[in-house]
């Protein structure tokens, strides 16, 4: 298994928003998706997703409802709201600028 990296402070929210942009999903699904798409590099404790989700919900960026999950149990499914989509765009832009700035310094 590849060496794992710590998640940068504040980037979890961005990852969650990005994941939800594709489709509504429950917490377990989001966790699996992040692990999958990061090729299991990011060392995220799966539970730490939930405070982030609740925070985003309180801020009105995502909404939630109870739906039947794959295993027949009820799962809380989150979906992106309009404000969340806007926030995602802003943060992605911010992130690109940040990366670009770091790159500039590293390659100078």
């Amino acid at each position: 298994m590849a060496k794992k990296s710590d998640l940068l402070q504040g980037t979890l929210d961005l990852l969650v928003l990005k994941t939800l942009a594709a489709e509504p999903m429950h917490g377990y699904g989001i966790a699996q998706r992040i692990l999958l798409s990061s090729r299991q590099v990011l060392d995220v404790q799966q539970g730490s997703l939930y405070p982030a989700l609740h925070r985003l919900e309180r801020k009105g960026l995502v909404s939630s409802e109870w739906r039947e999950g794959d295993n027949g149990r009820m799962a809380k499914v989150y979906s992106l709201r309009k404000a969340g989509r806007k926030q995602l765009e802003d943060e992605m832009e911010e992130w690109s600028r940040y990366i670009a700035a770091i790159q500039c310094v590293l390659e100078a």
Partner: protein, 893 residues
Amino acid sequence: MKWPFQKAETDLDLEVRYHLEALADGFEKEGLTRAQAMKRARAEFGGVEKIKDECRDESRWNWVFQIGQDLRFGWRMMRRSWPITAAAVATLALGIGATTAILTLADALLWRSLGVPNPEQLTELLWTSKDRPEGLIRGSSGSSFMDGGLRVADFFSQNGYEAIRQAAKGKAEVAAHINDSAVSTSFAGKVTVAVMRGVSGNFFPMLQVQPFAGRMLSDADEQAGASPAVVVTHWYWAKHLGNTEDAIGKTIMINNIAYVIAGVLPPEFTGIVPGDPTDIFTPVIFESNFMSEEGWYRKAKTDPQSWWIQLLARRAPGVTPQQLQSAIEPAFAASWPAQPKSAEATPRVRLLDAAQGLGKIRRRFGDPMWTLLGLVVLVLVIACANIANLLLSRAVEREKEAAMRVSLGCGAGRLMRQFFTESMLLAAIGGVASIGVAMVLSKLMVNLLPNGLGEMALSTGIGLRALLGAGAVTVLTALLFGLYPAWRTARVSAAPALKEGSGTGGTMSRARWAPAKILVLVQVALGVLLVTAAIVFTARLNELVAKDTGFERDHVLLFDVRPGEIGYKGDRLQRFYFDLEERLGALPGVESVGLARTRPMRGGGYWDDVGIPGEKKRVGSAIHHTNWGFIPALGVPIVAGRTITVQEARAKAKVAVISENMVRELGLASPVGSRIHFDKFDYEVVGVAKTARYSEMDRATPPVLYIPFPYERTAATVVLRTAVPPLTVLAAVREQIRELNRDLPLVDIYPMQDQISRTLQRERMFAWLCGSFGVLALVLCGVGLYGLMSHTTARRTGEIGIRMALGATRGNVMSQVLFEGLLLAFAGLLLGVPLALYAANVATTQKLLPEGATPYWTLAAAIAGLTAAAVMAVLGPALRASSIDPMQALRRG
């Protein structure tokens, strides 16, 4: 039902469990057992409880969880310093409770509007004159009072009423009512005693009262040929008429006469005067006094010199009282049977706002109520000072704790909220307890108030508005001083507070205790005022009760019989009274049997002018229609001549016994054998009785005329003089009366002593409440002083330890603490004395106290009481200070 935050908690639980089980499902597929899979899932997930907690922090319901924490912590802190908590709760409860009870009473007596639409349009019609209007009035029924040298009266003659009603047309609707009277009723086999009031047909239309059931009375009910009808209050209907609409149209027997129940008044209409005892309203012509053949009212109706009708009017919208007054004044004057003798004896109309009902009760209870309100506000101030003090002393104790929390990262907001929650918790407990106190106090007041008034005051329960008002003041105080420590901590940096060691080492700076000391000072000063007031008014009551009545008041039993109401008439009625006299007179223990038209010492009574035949001079006097046994039964000594004999009484002879002061006022040289004039007849004076009280304790003793009792009266008060304690003969008396007629009830049975105290209800209520405020003030001052001293000594343990180590004896330490505490108390007393003297001065000018009753000895007693309370309060802390072990104190410091 689930609360939102409870749902949030289960949702969180379900969400986390879903994730764990989904993970475990995956691991199970990889070949792990279920238990191993769950274990691994937990590890992947991270600390479940920690994450849940972080989620809760993000929740909208976060504050609910935090309040729970704050409350639990607050409760622990309160329990740790439970004496302070208990003192604060007790203070809150007593302060709010007392204020609520008094405000409720004041609201009911002074401020509550009548339960009718637009009560502000109601006006009471009265008239004033400086001198008695000679020639205009021969007899009257109603009430009058003095207002700055003017006599104000509420009674009008029939034609006066009609003239005024005519003249007011278009400007106001004027309706009439007459004095209420007690009647016996029988409905569906149930017999009760009720209060009946006669009203004019337009009375309820004028008030705009809509019936709860049936109909109201109208002009048609007093037309010739109408049959007797009544409307009853909602209360009476619910209690005595079965609470069903079936009662409408049925017949109720009142004093053995059939009346039709026309309707029921709405529950919000409780009468036309605060505490109106009226149960039954009927047209004036069917009022019980009207129905009886001997009734004075019947004659009065056609006599312009009999004034007996009271008037209540509703002004049309936009009509001012002045406009109404100028409209009716000339009509009123034109209705008089003769011209007044002088300008001073000319009646003038006076209008009185009646939105809160007739002014009678306000006049009687207004001044004492305002005084009580003033006193209770002082109690509230003392209570607030106490709470402030207790919380301040706790604040000092908790400064270190607060500093600790701040340095561990607790935000100022969170800290404020913690203290806020604690103050609210304290206030809530005190508030709940205060409801109990208010209810107990209210119960007490009900027993102290005249019949009906107390029940009325509480008919709506303890006043919610009053409770909220008093609660708000105290809770505000609690919050203000409860938040003080948080505010202080947020301002100062944590380091010095933490460094101050255990907090018992240093001496306290004077400045920090200054506010607490000032509060105690104010408390004690106000305490002097309250305790003095308590002693003064209690003493005044005792003085009134003990005042000489002029007759021998022990061993007298009073009760009423109403044979006329169960059908006795003419000869049979007379025979009944003769039998009653003989039977009761023969009972062992009964010395004499008196019969009277007017019950002695009930208030009111029968008043008229007495003169000398052929002379113009008239003396206003009280009349006792009595039998031969009355004067000895009441115990009034005969100073000259003799009393009325059996033969004279039974023959209704024109003889009279007059009181000594009447002899003086009439200027009779040799009274016995002289003749006097009263009510169209001349009487021969056969005896002179010692001056004795007639109906009231708190007024001047009037001249009294005793004349034979006409045995045709339908009702009488029986006055028994006994050789034994009066109530012991009651069983035998009942037995004798049952043998005469088993349907005849005995009404209002009291020994004379009780009858006398009943006339002093106002003074009694006043004295009791002042007394309890005084005690309350003593207790609160004690608590305040105790709180302050025990905390200053606790903070100075280290200092005291050093002093003792340096050679101070226990006696030195103790006397030092005592001295400090008492010095504070005496400073307060010194402030309080001029305050109390000033208040006494005000009370005298307001006529609450008799002239020249400057209460020096009561002031001394109050100071002694407060000093005793102060010593008791300071003794505890002083003893504790003197028992400090210097070694331990120093080691701890």
